[in-house]
């Protein structure tokens, strides 16, 4: 057993070292990014943290902690169990996190947390290849109504993920009943999906514009509709679905939540701080340069928005048999 004792001694040493690090008193705000460094949630925490301290809205620097696991479930569980009342703690989330909650993949329901604000969003788009015979969103929905399984569609999420659900919301608006018949292919990212569409493997891509903007600029693909309230500043020629008479928005928003037992005063203070941050040029520039559209919903309005979005997702997930 020398072997085992030796490794556990080593492990113990590292554990001890790690504990002393995390046990340091939290004097300033902390932002948990429930992913490894580099992802969207990590960007949310690091950028918001940087701008918060630049504007002097928090004391010192915001400590960013990466806590990956379970598409946000590990961080969610930790906050619910250990730090539900920690008023210095904010956690990054997004539409992806809400999709997980709506489908019951987090250890506790949505209401466990208090939702602070969304500060920016990637806009969902529906795109076809430049050589595709389909020219408009109306032609696409007409083709799908005629035969839901005729076109192969794809995007960066799995079946029941946000890219898939946004497309189905458009299909549902067009009057398609049998949503499950639409063929959906998952790819590891919007870029992959577009590459496969250019290679002729699939016909339609539904994903975030930010990831595939390069292809729109180069003219390799044609965006039929943007799922936003207003036209996208960088691409004013792309029609919104709403302007085409399809009442669907599909933002992949970036926002924050805090623990469920945080006091009303602390909650309101965070919302106010974040609104100041949102209105600063620092944030507007940082968000735009990362391909996000700055968009604000905060406080009670944001709480209601999150619940409504989760309800829509739950309904569609049920319709296509992702959840029972």
């Amino acid at each position: 057993m020398t072997l085992r004792t030796l490794t556990s001694v080593k492990l113990g040493a590292v554990l001890a070292a790690a504990l002393t690090v995390t046990a340091a008193p939290a004097t300033a705000a902390e932002c948990i990014a429930p992913s490894n460094p580099g992802g969207g949630w990590d960007f949310t925490c690091r950028t918001i943290g940087r701008v918060l301290s630049e504007l002097g809205l928090v004391q010192g620097n915001v400590q960013v902690t990466n806590m990956a696991g379970g598409v946000g479930a590990v961080a969610f569980a930790m906050v619910a169990n250990d730090r539900p009342g920690d008023e210095d703690l904010i956690v990054a989330t997004s539409t992806v996190g809400v999709t997980q909650m709506a489908q019951g993949r987090y250890p506790a329901p949505l209401e466990t947390m208090r939702y602070l604000a969304m500060l920016g969003a990637d806009v969902g788009v529906i795109a076809v290849d430049n050589d595709s015979p389909i020219q408009t969103l109306a032609e696409l929905t007409a083709a799908m109504v005629a035969d839901p399984s005729a076109l192969v569609t794809g995007g960066s999420s799995g079946a029941g993920g946000w890219d898939h659900i946004r497309l189905l919301m458009v299909a549902q608006d067009a009057g398609i009943e049998d949503l499950g018949a639409i063929r959906w292919v998952q790819f590891d990212g919007g870029t992959d999906a577009v590459t496969q569409m250019m290679g002729g493997q699939i016909s339609v891509v539904s994903t975030d514009l930010g990831e595939i903007a390069g292809f729109v600029e180069s003219g390799d693909i044609r965006v039929l509709a943007a799922l936003s309230d207003d036209p996208i500043p960088a691409f004013p020629d792309i029609p919104t679905a709403i302007s085409l008479g399809v009442d669907v928005t599909g933002y992949n928003w970036r926002g924050l939540y805090t623990g469920g037992q945080v006091s009303d005063e602390a909650y309101a203070a965070w919302v106010e701080r974040l609104e100041t941050l949102y209105n600063s040029t620092n944030w507007q520039e940082a968000a735009t340069s990362a391909g996000l559209v700055p968009i604000w919903r905060g406080g009670a309005e944001f709480e209601a928005f999150v619940r409504e979005q989760a309800a829509v997702m739950e309904e569609i997930s049920r319709d296509i048999g992702i959840i029972q």
Binding site: T2, L3, L6, T7, K10, L11, V14, L15, A18, N36, P37, G38, G39, T65, N66, M67, A68, G69, G70, V71, A73, V74, A77, Q103, R105, P107, S149, V152, G158, A159, G160, G161, R183, W184, V185, Q186, F187, D188, G189, T191, D192, T195, Q196, M198, G199, G200, Q201, I202, G214, I322
Partner: protein
């Protein structure tokens, strides 16, 4: 030609002070890791990955450092093969066959010089091939659909099965363990958690980096615990360090043939440098062993496998960069690192991040020159460092791995997982089961499964899609050809040893 201006730009990136510094460091560390028996390219790169995260290098610099280590290991592996008769790493096994006999006959300096030059020739030919072919393959890759990628993964697994000297059943077992582990986590297509044992930590699956560091670095430490400090190998003394041109020149054709064969073996996904050096040696022996000098210190038997393994190492970068499918165990580790840094290798990498690709290519040209200098005139340093007692080395390795892995994710769970993989790697190595198929299984398994299921989603469940494109049919034909070749080689070897036994008896 477009390639020249791209490489020109690459040199501007490669020649920044940071990158040139990392390059030289990588070459030095790589040669040393290669020379030290036990630590090979996969372990070496796996140990250094956490460090690149800790220093926060950008993807280009990280890749330059690690590729320099990779190439350096390929050069360095021969030193202990020749002087100790212990291969410094797996691909250097073939070099012991003629390298050690040469050293015993007092030809150590020449053996080192020939193999050093052969390494340079092989690696340089491979980098030229990389510059020319990788962009072409990347352009063609846009036509690769899910079914074609699936066929490519099948080919990858067929080629690892073909590595000789390894019991094919053990290879199969190792690959199967890797494939099984690849299924852990949330299935990205349906969103269903699989084999997560209700632990959220496993929802994201097993991070290949964690598994790799555990399998290669931790198991190495565990293996060392068994050895006593007295087990120090005796090295053959080398009388002089300057190479003799007259000894090197006659092996030129062996070097070129070895480079060509190694390059093809490297480009094939999955196979890698061990296969490259094996095939190069077997071919050279077949062609040149007129007087039965192979295995008794024939210089061509040193030149061919060394050119072969270096060339294969460069060739293996081609499918890794242009298709996102690694050509060897080490490139599999590099791929995992790139993905962790949010760089997705594949057809678009060349368009989207030309700086990364061409900066790397330019660095590899420079690395070869640096390595030639390190491995010919300055080789004395490494023969001395090679004798560093492992008890002094391993604690450093242990410290780097634990701190580094914790630095990636701040997760205690990941440390436990890494130790688990270390113990698993130790057990498998004690059972003589190669870890490379396991790594490929773990790394490729998920993509292989997803591409199969994507193909099925596209066709609406019709299996015919798998053999519906010319690309997939070509890949399956290559797979069958490759399997036939390895069976033929195995049978022939078997007959030959029988015949030898009869003549001797």
């Amino acid at each position: 030609m477009e390639v020249f201006s791209l490489i020109g730009n690459g040199f501007l990136i490669a020649l920044t002070p940071l990158n040139i510094g990392l390059l030289l460091l990588g070459c030095f560390v790589g040669t040393l890791l290669g020379a030290l028996p036990g630590l090979g390219p996969v372990n070496g790169v796996a140990v250094l990955i956490p460090l690149t995260f800790a220093f926060g290098f950008d993807p280009t610099s990280s890749l330059i450092l690690l590729c320099a280590v990779y190439f350096g290991c390929m050069y360095g592996g021969r030193i202990s093969s020749i002087l100790l008769n212990i291969p410094g790493d797996e691909p250097a096994i073939m070099t012991t066959l003629d390298g050690y006999p040469m050293a015993v006959q007092g030809q150590a300096a020449n053996a080192l010089a020939i193999s050093g030059v052969a390494s340079f020739v092989g690696a340089t030919i491979a980098v030229i091939g990389l510059s020319l072919f990788a962009p072409v393959l990347a352009r063609a890759a846009i036509h690769f659909g899910p079914a074609d990628y699936f066929a490519l993964y099948i080919l990858a697994f067929a080629t690892i099965g073909g590595i000789a000297g390894v019991d094919p059943r053990k290879t199969l077992l190792s690959a199967a363990i890797g494939l099984m582990m690849a299924t852990v986590g949330i299935d990205p297509i349906s969103g269903v958690p699989r084999y997560t044992m209700d632990s959220f930590h496993l929802y994201d699956g097993i991070q290949p980096i964690i598994a790799l560091v555990g399998l290669f670095a931790i198991s190495e430490i565990l293996l060392l615990l068994e050895k006593t400090a007295k087990d120090r190998p005796k090295a053959i003394k080398v009388d002089r360090w300057l190479p003799q041109w007259s000894a090197i020149w006659p092996t030129r054709w062996a070097m070129l043939r070895g480079s060509g064969i190694g390059f093809v073996a490297g480009v094939l996904p999955g196979a890698g440098a061990s296969l490259g050096s094996f095939m190069a040696y077997v071919f050279e022996k077949q062609k040149s062993n007129k007087n039965g000098t192979f295995g008794k210190g024939d210089p061509r038997g040193v030149a061919a496998p060394e050119a072969g393994n270096n060339s294969a190492a460069g060739g293996a970068l081609i499918p890794m960069l242009s298709l996102g499918v690694p050509g060897s165990g080490t490139t599999a580790v590099l791929l995992a690192m790139l993905i962790s840094l949010n760089v997705q290798p594949g057809p678009l990498l060349f368009e989207r991040q030309p700086d990364l690709v061409w900066g790397l290519v330019a660095s590899l040209y420079l690395a070869n020159i640096a390595l030639l200098v390190l491995n010919l005139p300055m080789i004395g340093i490494f023969t001395r460092l090679m004798m560093t007692p492992t008890w002094a080395l391993m604690p450093v390795v242990a410290a780097i791995t634990f701190v580094g892995v914790y630095g990636i994710s701040n997760s205690i769970f990941d440390l436990k997982l890494m130790v688990f993989f270390g113990v698993l790697g130790y057990i498998l190595r004690k059972l003589d089961i190669s870890l490379v198929p396991l790594v490929l299984g773990l790394l490729l398994g998920g993509d292989m499964e997803r591409n199969l299921r994507r193909a099925m989603s596209i066709s609406g469940g019709d299996w015919g899609i798998l053999i519906a494109s010319p690309i997939s049919i070509t890949l399956y034909a290559l797979t069958i050809g490759f399997l036939a070749l390895s069976v033929w080689l195995a049978v022939r070897d078997h007959k030959q040893t029988k015949a030898e036994r009869l003549t001797e008896g």
